[in-house]
């Protein structure tokens, strides 16, 4: 039932959407105040989301489901798609995450982008992103979700390529969009399959119908949605775009490529829980993709010297944990979302912290330095950044008490109950995470100064450190969601109750084991990077695993060899076929037409047109004559 304040649900989306439109159309007129408007509108959405959230909490557990009908989007008489917004426990948490973290990052960008001449456009794109992301999580059917899905893809494209005078940025933007489109094929077909199976893409209809649909259709639907999720969430095999996406300004990496957009695939999986529950094969595929990605990303994170790329690899890996949670079914859905939220806090925190470091390490050329081999001993120069970053660090490695400890631990625990090897691999990933994050901390904030000449690290302005402090607090305290199993109970109306503890390793033992593995990871990192000075240039002669990791586990090479190069060859072959084959057969080839035309011109120099006309006229006369003859 839509009552009271829920009538304003549409405004949550409309505010940032209006901001994007005003800033884009305003041009120079909006130059002076545009960025402040762009910050105010998501904050407005956040306040509204808080009010909506608390109103929803005031309702009875089974009554927390609000659908606001806006208008009928597509109606062919046979199938109907309504533009409906769905506000339920799942979307309410996303609303808070997107508008909350989004607002903080808008404010941070005021400082970070202060000297960019195109900052108004930057803020317009950020607002566009927020509006699209909110559409994605508020949509009540897959087609409207797809609108938001592609909207965030567009915003991501625009923002990765924001500094598009750099060819690398432009190429990265295109790569991200095209790889996402591969995933979109899955969503498009999933939408079509929904229509043919259920006659609708509404979540309500699909959820109700899934139990009665054929196993094959549900497996296909689950796999198609998984393909889409792989694209958006940078899961293997569609992972290669995320590292390149770090070409975008750092607030973009924090908001889009860490906290919100890349987790949309997890949202999609959890939202489709009714389908996955009916498709064990698809769920197994989700688990396999997730485990492969969580290790793949972690391995990449170990070998990168670019601070943003370490964080990007870690994002891949952490989303792998969330996907794992989603693939584990009712035992994991709530924890997937829980980890998504805590990750949103601590990863946004660390990305913004990295941005603050880059800001402080800006060289004489005006470019922020991302190479950690040029950092070192920054904890004194940038105390606030260091302390807030440390909160994020402790959260991501799962230091007991910090938010990531609670959320990751729950997923690993659920994984142990699914199968021992899934649990073991997930735990191994936690150890690797501890290793590469400790490496990042040591290389950046500890050890010797390895600063380049002309670099004078300094703490960032308040407008940047303020959001860092808030996010650091959330990174530390995010575990509170779990208090009294609140999050499981809150999400239960959407994703179902987690099953009661079954036999297997007791939860406390899993926690202890995980902490031990993490401690081992930290220890190894300290032995390698803490005790010895870090070389200012990357060592060239390294063992093969490091080479593999530096090459992003050959993700690009695989794409290049098996997709891009064959595609290029196919294109040039088809061009030849078209020119000499198809055109040749039908018109005697361009040469014949050319020769014919040449002869024509020579003979009738200047009279081609009148000849063509008489050609036409003659044809019509002949035909008319034929008809008259036939008539009798």
């Amino acid at each position: 039932m839509v009552t009271g304040v829920f009538h304003l649900l549409w405004l949550v989306v409309a505010l940032p959407a209006a901001g994007a439109a005003i800033l884009l159309l305003g041009g120079r007129w909006a130059e002076r105040w545009g960025r402040y408007l762009a910050c105010a509108l998501p904050i407005g959405s956040f306040v509204l989301s808080l009010i909506l959230f608390s109103t929803l909490l005031g309702r009875d557990g089974n009554d927390r489901h609000v659908v606001q009908h806006l208008y009928t989007w597509i109606d062919t008489g046979h199938l109907t798609v309504r533009a409906d917004l769905l506000f339920d426990p799942l979307s309410s948490l996303f609303l808070l995450l997107i508008t909350g973290v989004g607002s903080l990052i808008h404010v941070y960008s005021l400082g970070y982008m202060a000297h960019d001449p195109r900052r108004t456009r930057f803020f317009a794109y950020l607002n566009l992103f927020v509006a699209a992301m909110l559409t994605l999580v508020l949509a009540e059917n897959y087609l409207l979700l797809f609108l938001g899905w592609e909207g965030v893809g567009l915003a991501s494209y625009l923002l990765i390529g924001f500094w598009q005078h750099k060819p690398s940025a432009a190429a990265a933007a295109k790569k991200a969009f095209v790889m996402n489109r591969v995933g979109d094929m899955g969503i498009s077909l999933a939408i079509a399959l929904c229509f043919t199976t259920f006659g609708s893409t509404s979540f309500a209809v699909v959820d109700a119908g899934a139990a009665h649909a054929s196993r094959g259709a549900m497996t296909a639907l689950g796999l198609l949605l998984l393909l889409g999720a792989c694209g958006k969430s940078a899961q293997v095999p569609l992972q290669a775009w995320l590292l390149d996406a770090m070409e975008g300004p750092t607030p973009v990496s924090a908001l889009i490529h860490a906290a919100t957009m890349v987790t949309a695939g997890v949202y999609l999986m959890v939202r489709s829980n009714a389908v996955l529950d009916q498709a064990p094969a698809a769920r197994t595929a989700v688990v396999v993709v997730a485990v492969v990605t969580l290790l793949w990303g972690a391995v990449i994170g170990c070998a990168k010297d670019d601070i943003k790329k370490v964080l990007a690899g870690s994002t891949m890996s952490q989303i792998g944990y969330m996907m794992l949670g989603a693939g584990l079914g009712p035992a994991g859905y709530a924890f997937a979302i829980f980890h998504l939220l805590t990750h949103g806090f601590f990863k946004a925190n660390m990305f913004l912290g990295a941005g603050s470091v880059m800001h402080g390490m800006t060289g004489p050329d005006g470019e922020g330095d991302v190479d950690m081999r040029h950092y070192g001993a920054l904890r004194r120069a940038m105390p606030v950044t260091f302390l807030t970053f440390a909160m994020g660090y402790l959260a991501i490695i799962g230091f007991p008490g910090f938010s990531g400890f609670w959320s990751k631990d729950k997923i690993i625990d659920a994984a142990w109950h699914e199968h021992w090897w899934i649990g073991a691999l997930a735990m191994l990933g936690a150890g690797v995470t501890a290793f590469y994050m400790t490496r990042l901390m040591l290389m950046t904030f500890f050890g010797e100064k390895r600063w380049l000449q002309g670099v004078h690290p300094h703490e960032s302005p308040r407008v940047m450190t303020g959001p860092l402090v808030v996010l650091a607090a959330l990174s530390a305290l995010g575990g509170l969601f779990l208090l009294g199993s609140w999050i499981q109970d809150y999400l239960a109306p959407v994703v179902g109750e987690p099953p009661a503890e079954s036999a297997g390793l007791p939860a406390w033992l899993v926690s202890v084991l995980a902490v031990v593995v993490v401690a081992i990871g930290i220890a190894i990192a300290w032995l390698v990077f803490g005790r010895r000075p870090v070389p200012a240039t990357a060592p060239e002669k390294v063992a093969w695993p490091i080479t593999v990791a530096r090459q992003d586990v050959y993700g690009d090479l695989i794409n290049e060899t098996f997709v891009v190069e064959p595609g290029r060859r196919l294109t040039s072959t088809l061009l030849q076929i078209d020119r000499y084959g198809v055109d040749g057969v039908l018109t005697g080839g361009p040469f014949a037409v050319g020769a014919f035309a040449g002869a024509f011109r020579k003979l009738q120099n200047g009279y081609v047109r009148s000849y063509a006309l008489s050609f036409l006229g003659g044809g019509i006369v002949v035909v008319l004559a034929l008809m008259v003859v036939n008539w009798q």
């Binding site: 989007w73 597509i74 062919t76 087609l143 592609e150 598009q164 750099k166 079509a192 008259v628």
Partner: protein, 484 residues
Amino acid sequence: MITTLCLIPLVGAIGSAIARSRPIALAFGLATLVVSIIAAARFHSSHQGFQETVDVSWIKDLGVHWALGLDGMGLLLVLLTTVLVPVVMLAAWRDHSHGWFSWALALESFALIVFCATDLFVFYVFFEATLIPAYFMIGGWGGPKRSFAALKFLMYQLGGGLVLLGGVIGLYAVQSGSPSYLLTDLQHVDMGTAAGRWIFVSLFIGFAVKAPLFPFHTWLADTTESATPATSVLLVCVLDKIGTFGMLRYCLGMLPEASHWATPVVVTLCLISIVYGAFLAIGQDDLLRLVGLTSLSHFGFIALGAFVFTQEGNSGSILYMVNHGVATAAMFLVVGYLVQRRGTASIRAIRGVEKGAPVLAGMLLVAGLATAGLPGLSQFVAEILVLIGAFDYHWWVGAVAVTGIVLAAIYVLWMYQRTMTGPPDPDPGGATADLTRVEVAVLAPLVAALLFFGFVPGPLLHLANPVSSVLNPSLAVDSAGAAR
């Protein structure tokens, strides 16, 4: 009313040719637009069948009637035509002489008659008549190879027209008693299966050359390369629609049995067109050829939507015709502005335009993403409906067609990356001026339509749905049965 609508531009063509005046031509273009809007306002979108009908016996001996009428599909294409003509005239203002404007009006008049004709003979005559202005527009204005392009265009179209004519004669021959070309009469002719299929084949080939579909497409890129962008808009966005329009109205509407019979072959041709056209577009170096070839892919989608025999596929197909017209027109015009500034259409020779001309780059991106079917822009709605229809027909048909969305992203964004991004051209004179206010004003209605109909496709679909439900009577019965 409807005869007036069709003849205003012809009067304008003659008038502006005599007066040698471009403003007069534009005035007539706008007058036609106004009349078409009045016609749209009087149209009852919920009614099936033709409205505003005119039926005057014309050539008694042949049973030819001057019969015109509007259904939803016809009205949509009429509106597309009457909107695009003034827009294109404004875009062509600077570098086209008055003769082009007169031909454009003549083309508009013939195209409107084709879209309104309810008599196959009238349809055929004006189908051929459109070639005359088109030929002169291609041959008279444009690139250095325009004579060749115009000749190739004409040869192809005449060839297709002759095959189509075979079908027209065939329809005459199979009628016993007093012959008639009225659509309503032709639908009830008992011509027998074999004759119906032969007639279908000849009509379909004629339309497939026009639309164009693989393998009848090779005139397309040569034409768009040499013609001016303004001419290309009228050719690809208006004239080529006659092909897919004819498939829906005459192949499906008149020869349903033969259409079902031919579907496997036609669907295959459509799928080839979608994938093949996209690959050819990816491989192009000439911007104008690229835009032309993207349309091959899109016509594959339109014809696919027509021949999968589902209501959503048909509605999507009709909608696609309109939205493709708007999106591709925007694409051609922006590319035209770019080519005009740089003096070349070669992608390799253009780079870093965004830095100096952000508005131009932005327009190119919006138009490009619209042709790539980005949700929120109008072509998406049509494309997803066609995909759903195709998937409904057979899952693998949908699965092949869906690759088009990836390929479209590649040809649009790769082109954008190479021409717009990167450091600006260091050559003196390499800087590109941004769009002027007038140029933005010309593009604005198209971009606004792309956005508006992306979010609110209702008005277009309400016109398309009655037509597609007439074309799929069995389906309507099915769903009625299911409802019970």
